[in-house]
């Protein structure tokens, strides 16, 4: 039902799946080229192992879509798109470390430290973090001289990325999340929202904001897209929590009811299932409001991305 609703929305045809597949392929090619196997090879192999090992590339696609939405040419957004995916990968590598969440598997594959050892996993993460900024800041990452964004725009993009992933953003979310696990009392709704807004929404925010900035968007457009991203970031987590309660393990492709069995705080636990669903509806509605002012044809990718996050079945 969700998919059908998405397809007819606005009465326009939009091949969302085709769009995602084509953009993900372009991003994968750009990522492959951005991390050549240089000396020392093992460091670069570890970076490539985690970076190129799959994933839906939601963040880079958001970046490309935001750039086009404000009238920028899509190739202009490939370097920032790669940068946000590098940061995402870095945060997963460090999150999976034994001293953090201690995960052996990621997307069905052994995690970086399992394959390459802990020291190299730390270094590969650090190197991806550095490379993300280098790739974003260096004008030579961009297609050609007439296409690379002017320096003030690139500096603004670097500043946004730095803020979104640091101790005010992604790191804050990871820190508070780690601090909150294993507590006797469930965390409050405020704290749950803080964690998701920082741990998940911050990098989605950086993704669309960077795309809009390099694409030459106005301040008003950038701020609308920022609010859109914060809504879908939170939406993603609320839907995740709902699916954990309502779907079987088989449907999800992972263990269902895991959150319920653990001490982890979730929206259904704190709000109940009905109110969680209402909250998800509200977030989807708010996200769509933010992009309603744009040309509907150009906004189609972001509209469908929001629907996809809201109506996914796993």
């Amino acid at each position: 039902a969700g998919a059908a609703a998405a397809a007819v929305e606005g009465g326009r045809e939009f091949d969302f799946k085709g769009y995602m597949v084509a953009r993900a392929a372009a991003v994968n090619r750009a990522l492959d080229a951005a991390v050549p196997v240089a000396y020392p090879e093992r460091v670069h192999e570890a970076m490539r192992y985690s970076l190129l090992g799959g994933g839906k590339r939601v963040r880079p696609v958001l970046c490309l879509a935001a750039c086009e939405l404000v009238g920028g040419r899509e190739p202009l957004a490939l370097p920032p798109a790669c940068a946000v995916e590098m940061i995402h990968t870095m945060s997963l590598i460090h999150d999976d470390l034994p001293c953090m969440d201690d995960d052996d598997l990621r997307r069905g594959q052994p995690t970086c430290h399992v394959v390459y050892g802990e020291p190299l996993a730390v270094l590969a993460g650090d190197a991806l973090l550095a490379l993300a900024f280098r790739h974003l800041a260096d004008p030579s990452s961009y297609p050609s001289d007439d296409l690379h964004p002017p320096a003030p725009r690139l500096l603004r993009a670097v500043a946004e990325l730095a803020r979104c992933i640091g101790a005010e953003g992604l790191v804050a979310g990871q820190a508070v999340d780690l601090e909150s696990t294993g507590l006797a009392d469930p965390v409050s709704l405020d704290r749950l929202e803080y964690i998701h807004l920082h741990k998940t929404a911050s990098l989605l925010e950086a993704s669309v904001v960077l795309g809009a900035i390099v694409g030459g968007g106005s301040d008003d457009q950038v701020e609308r897209l920022r609010r859109y991203a914060r809504c879908i970031g939170l939406l993603f987590q609320v839907v995740d929590d709902i699916l954990d309660v309502t779907k079987s393990s088989q449907e999800l492709g992972k263990t269902a009811g895991k959150d319920l069995a653990s001490d982890k705080s979730t929206y259904p636990k704190l709000l109940g299932l009905d109110k969680s669903r209402q909250f998800a509806e509200q977030l989807l509605c708010d996200a769509k409001d933010q992009i309603a002012a744009f040309d509907p044809a150009k906004a189609a990718p972001l509209l469908h991305l929001a629907n996809y996050i809201a109506y996914r079945q796993k």
């Binding site: 800041a137 500043a159 820190a175």
Partner: protein, 318 residues
């Protein structure tokens, strides 16, 4: 200008700069929620004992070209934050497992491993944000600032300091001369090179000046560390197994791998190389080149001890 360099008071220059750099760093890292992350970041950067060699090099290279030092302070702070981030991760139990850093508890030892990982991850972007927010636009053209950011990212990345730490961990430092020097270049030369070239770019260096500063910085970084190793060989019982935190991970020091005679030869070569790169600035920059000459002499002779605010056990660590 060797005689002039000898009369230049590097100690006053350096200690004067340190207090300004400390103030810049102090203001750059506020304490907000989640406080423990900010406290860990502050500990990594501000707990004292650091020589601030990278920031001082950056400011000196900027002043060399006649630009005001205010143009360089934000980048100087970012260099120190990037450096501190890599040291915090070097000290992790899975890496060097260092309980102490500059005579004080290391960040992982004091704040726990996961907080240390995150503090390192947060320091690096904070440095970038600081450069962009604080560098006076009237003093530095925006394209030059972009180049500075790309330089810092390159220096700490997979072909720079991260490569050096990997090569050291995998035992390259116990290899032949080429391997030993490569580890020194990656672990210590890259940051000094980056500091010098960033200072130059901030000061308006042209391509040739920037390239000379790059070669100068790299030579000084390796020189400083190699002399450290020579001094450590002379002084038994410094650190454990003759090794101080922050140096080569392998117990065999660079000097032991090279042999003391060869090490001293290389010291002379690096000293000459660094000074020869400065010659081009003699006439056009006058006395402003003196601090850079004196860094070379200091690296070799260590006429005084440098340490930042609240310091005590500075040691020889850069």
């Amino acid at each position: 200008s060797s005689a002039a360099a000898a009369s230049f008071d590097l100690r006053s220059y350096w200690t004067g700069l340190i207090s300004e750099i400390e103030a810049e760093l102090e203001a750059a890292i506020p304490v907000r929620y989640p406080e423990w992350i900010y406290e860990a970041m502050r500990h990594a950067v501000l707990s004292g004992g650091a020589k601030r060699a990278s920031p001082v090099m950056c400011v000196a290279a900027c002043e060399l070209l006649g630009a005001p030092r205010a143009a360089a302070f934000p980048t100087a702070a970012a260099l120190e934050m990037a450096h501190a981030a890599s040291l915090v991760h070097d000290d992790l139990p899975c890496m060097d497992a260092a309980p102490l850093r500059r005579g004080r508890p290391s960040t992982p030892a004091l704040f726990g491993v996961s907080t240390a990982v995150l503090a390192g991850d947060a320091l690096f972007p904070l440095g970038f944000a600081h450069v962009i927010a604080r560098t006076p636009p009237a003093l530095v053209p925006r394209p030059a600032l972009l180049r500075v950011l790309a330089e810092i990212a390159r220096a700490v990345g997979s072909t720079g300091m991260a490569a050096g730490q990997f090569l050291d961990l995998s035992g390259a430092a116990a290899g032949g001369e080429a391997e030993v020097l490569l580890v020194l270049e990656k672990k210590f030369g890259e940051m000094a090179e980056c500091s010098a070239v960033c200072g130059g770019l901030l000061g308006g260096a042209d391509e040739d000046d920037a390239a000379a500063l790059r070669r100068y910085g790299r030579a000084v970084g390796v020189l400083y560390q190699l002399v450290d190793d020579v001094l450590m060989e002379d002084e038994e019982g410094v650190g454990s197994n003759g090794r101080s935190p922050g140096k080569m991970r392998s117990n065999a020091s660079a000097v032991r791998a090279l042999g003391i005679d060869r090490a001293l030869e290389i010291v002379e070569e690096l000293k000459d190389k660094a000074k020869s790169e400065l010659r081009r600035f003699d006439d056009k920059c006058g006395e402003r080149v003196l601090p850079l000459y004196s860094f070379v002499d200091y690296a070799v002779h260590r006429g005084f001890l440098v340490a930042g605010a609240g310091a005590g056990a500075g040691g020889n660590e850069v």
